[in-house]
Symmetry: C2
Subunit: 345 residues, 2 copies
């Protein structure tokens, strides 16, 4: 099963291939044309943005989500394409800035813009890409832009919360107490929802708002938020469980990310808290990381997480309501089932 | 004469004080309210933004410009206030990112957000502040947002051009050739217009677009661009001529900025090129910096620059057209004369 190309094989009214071809063409045109505008163009800015946006390896999850939701709502194709492009550009802008913030050197198997051209270029390229995203939706109803702005604010906040939570010893210590454990989970949820759920939510919200359907917009915002968090959580689980050997295995632990499986397991077991504190103190204890992963696995928390993902996906499907029965909606339900399948074993 | 509080004493219909009081209140409310929204608010993000936006020492030039242009166009006060707030927030967001890009440690006599809270916080705070700017104008006609987006793209590009031009030895070397000198001046103009002129231009353009007056919008965009570049150039001249002792004197030379006076003087005189190359090679040659400043002064280029500023201000006033005779317009003409006065001596 391939969650990264989720709707390709699913039963779906509109074929994904022509949409994605049109999307890639629009994205490339948007990026290249705009980067040609200046007379004395800082070519490097374009390279930095292109290197990420047009590089192979992008999964185009958000455009695919927009496609299926647009299909379910019978939205005009140009509207669907504009929102899909905006969503991918907002995602790309956030990656450019996140890589600066995280001092990451590699993404999608290539050097990051900050690693290659420096922080300055990556910061400014992110600003430029974000402004291009807003251009895409400027002819749609105002509410689309208004929600995009709030989305960017939420994503920025979540990115900062994440930076601050990473490797935070006090967070691990707080898990000893039930109230602390609840607060830590709430923090995790804010981060996951802000970083992934909010943009997944906007994908459908924007399509519905473009059609003037406020009620559906609210439901699709909820759908995307739950679905996005489920997606994030499944990713965290696979990383920790070692489902995809060779794919940065245990990198979340090494990077001192407070993922939900870690937080839950550490809340339950003082020995896991101690191990986690040890790993978060030193960034190069490979053996400790493996011991910590084994202890989390042995704690039985993985079953909880699988159940949690199931609950989020249930919520997401409920939020779809009658759309779940329509062609694009059915593809999304199939996608949710696919995701559920990859984590339960 | 006080160019930093330009319209306070000028003959102007509306008094500046109540407008600025309303503006400061709206700005503070916008920043604080929005920074309270999150449940687990990363307070540090708000602090970083507040430290810059609400810190004393901000001159509020752009809001003042919006006030006078709004007055001349009889724009409704809430529209004027929204555009003024958006302009100041766009300016603030660009400062937050510029300080990261330039690795600056101080602004307006205080530590910068990047120096105090790190690059991550400053980058994300800039994103958040920029999104708040768009919120301000979201209920105005779409063209206001559309031009704001293009503005952000232009500002990002100019910031990158500036980073790349700073200390670029090849740029100095290129001045030996007339075509190279022309290209260098054009680069300087792109930077000055992108960094200062474009936002000054948007201030009036946005007010006119909010009123649906496309023709005036184009003229006010031009007015602001010329006025903004004149402003920037006057700043560069004063810094180099040492008009304001104690105020970071010669900092542009020390920071290896390719200002117009430097470019022109170096284009004329091989000895100045050599001196400039020496200063740009080492960042700590205080004596060399003073020798370079003296040589530029002796080259007679300051008179050229004063004339250039005069020409830009003439263009700006011409672009105002019949607005120059109206109350707010007359204040702007007075402001232009004040600026002209501070540089001619």
């Amino acid at each position: 099963m391939n969650v990264e190309n989720p709707t390709a094989g699913a039963d779906s009214g509109i074929s994904e291939r022509p949409f994605l071809a049109a999307f890639e063409e629009k994205l490339e045109r948007t990026v290249r044309e705009d980067f040609m505008l200046g007379r004395r163009e800082p070519r490097i800015l374009g390279l930095a943005a292109e290197g990420l946006i047009l590089a192979p390896g992008a999964k185009r999850l958000r455009p695919r989500l927009v496609l299926r939701l647009g299909e379910a709502l019978h939205a005009p194709p140009p509207t669907v394409l504009s929102i899909a492009t905006a969503a991918e550009l907002i995602h790309s802008a956030s990656l450019l800035h996140d890589d600066v913030v995280d001092e990451s050197s590699e993404r999608r198997g290539r050097p990051t813009a900050n690693a290659r051209y420096g922080n300055s270029t990556a910061v400014l390229a992110g600003d430029l890409v974000l402004s291009l995203a807003f251009v895409q939706v400027q002819s749609l109803p105002h509410a689309v832009t208004a929600t995009a702005v709030r989305l960017v604010a939420e994503m920025s906040r979540a990115a900062l919360l994440e930076v601050r939570a990473r490797g935070d010893q006090a967070l691990i210590a707080s898990l000893a107490d039930p109230a602390g454990a609840r607060a830590a989970e709430a923090l995790w949820r804010d981060i996951a929802e802000g970083k992934t759920g909010s943009l997944f939510g906007w994908c459908g919200e924007a399509v519905a708002l473009a059609l003037g359907d406020l009620d559906t917009a609210a439901r699709l915002a909820l759908f995307g938020r739950r679905f996005g968090v489920a997606f994030q959580l499944a990713d965290d689980l696979r990383n920790l469980r070692g489902d995809e050997p060779g794919k940065d295995q245990l990198s979340d632990l090494t990077n001192r990310q407070p993922t939900l499986p870690l937080l839950r397991a550490a809340a339950r077991d003082p020995a896991i808290r101690e191990l986690a504190e040890a790993v978060w103190r030193t960034s190069d204890g490979v053996r400790d990381v493996e011991r910590l992963a084994a202890a989390i696995g042995a704690s039985g928390v993985f079953d909880d997480i699988v159940a949690e993902i199931g609950g989020l996906l249930d919520d997401a499907v409920v939020a779809l309501g009658e759309l779940a029965a329509r062609p694009g909606g059915a593809s999304l339900v199939a996608w949710a089932e696919l995701l559920r399948g990859t984590v339960s074993r």
